[in-house]
Amino acid sequence: MTAFFAILKRDLRLSLGAGGIGLPIAFFLLVATLYPFAIGPDGALLARTGGGVIWVAALLAALLPIDRLIAPDAESGVLDQYAVRGIGEEAVATAKIAAHWLGFGPPLMLAALPAAALLRLDGETLAAVELGLLVGTPGLAALGVMVASLTAGVRRSGALGGLLMLPLAVPLIIFGAGSIGDFGGGALRFLAASSLLLVAIAPFAAGAGIRALRE
């Protein structure tokens, strides 16, 4: 357990430090800023579509950290050193997922506040968006670590990571955006189920990916 929390703490520190979460959050806010420019100042239209835009922006922002989640640790031998110490790859992946979510989910939920203002969302919609992000970002974080470990051995893995991750994130965006609006309760449950499924399988898939990197 010492190792688990040590890995979590280290990864969280790396993610909150320079080159970490700042860029994805700035990107997220930039998308939310650009959208009203493209659509025009029609407040009603912005308010109706804004929730979905926040989800698209969140998904795109989740792509940015992928190449720093696993590849640097694989190249510098850190993952090998975990293995020499008998720390299982699944445990490493779980710690990395937890750290990635802590460094990604809450900052994104905070950034959703100014984004909601830019998109003219009302309080009720904002609450639904925040609840959806709370439920959905663990799934996004798990997916990010999983895709990162599967693409870490590939050169220029950024584009490949996006190609792998976006289709797998489709349920999150459907149910995430669906949870906003009048009949959002059912969609929120589906969002929770998709998120939970990703969190459950990601440690094993990422663990297998990390092992495969050694060959």
Partner: protein, 194 residues
């Protein structure tokens, strides 16, 4: 610590080629083995199999007392000061501040403790890697080309650290193409497979 390293009928398959087969040896506390042989005969692969990083094609490896591996990867966070980067591994291995201080002193790195890891020179990086192994408090040291990039003074420090480790009942398995100062060490030369 009750150190033991036993390798039995071990063979290694890499990229569709048998690198070595039928390899066997046993090391007791205080013993050392120097692996030699030309490039590409599987010295590093043998160390990685023993460290548990590669599967053996056949045969098996038994270790007790924990192992620590120094290969070409430093595995230290480049942005952190050296002492802090070593401290990360020391904490995982159940060590404390003194473990790091001892390891730094053993490889003459004490005055570099506050220097960020990315600023270190080649020889200093090598010594930092060895200090990480020293701080791991493992019984079995697996050293892959530990003398690479080290000057004469650093080689003497390495010899001293290895002697101290063996005196405490530790085991050393070193792969090197240069001579290492390992008094009384057995030697195993891997031949290129036909």
């Amino acid at each position: 610590m009750s150190a033991r390293l036993a390798v039995e009928a071990l063979s290694c398959l890499r990229g569709g080629r048998i690198l070595f087969k039928g390899l066997g040896f046993t090391l007791q506390p205080g013993e050392a083995l120097l692996l030699t042989g030309p490039n590409g005969v599987g010295k590093s692969s043998l160390l990685r199999i023993i460290a548990g990083l590669l599967p053996a094609f056949s045969g098996h490896v038994e270790t007790s007392g924990g192992s620590a591996l120094a290969d070409e990867h430093m595995a230290l966070d480049p942005r952190l000061p050296l002492a802090e980067a070593l401290g990360y591994w020391a904490r995982i291995d159940g060590g404390d501040h003194d473990t790091v201080v001892d390891a730094l002193a053993a490889f003459d790195l004490t005055r570099l403790a506050e220097v960020p890891v990315r600023m270190l020179s080649t020889g200093q990086r090598r010594r930092a890697t060895l200090a990480r192994v020293h701080a791991a408090r493992a019984a079995i040291w697996l050293l892959d080309e530990p003398g690479n990039g080290l000057d004469a003074a650093s080689l003497a420090l390495l010899a001293e650290a290895m002697a101290a480790h063996r005196a405490k009942g530790g085991i050393i398995l070193a792969a090197s193409h240069q001579m290492l100062d390992l008094p009384g060490a057995a030697s195993l030369t891997l031949e290129a497979a036909a």
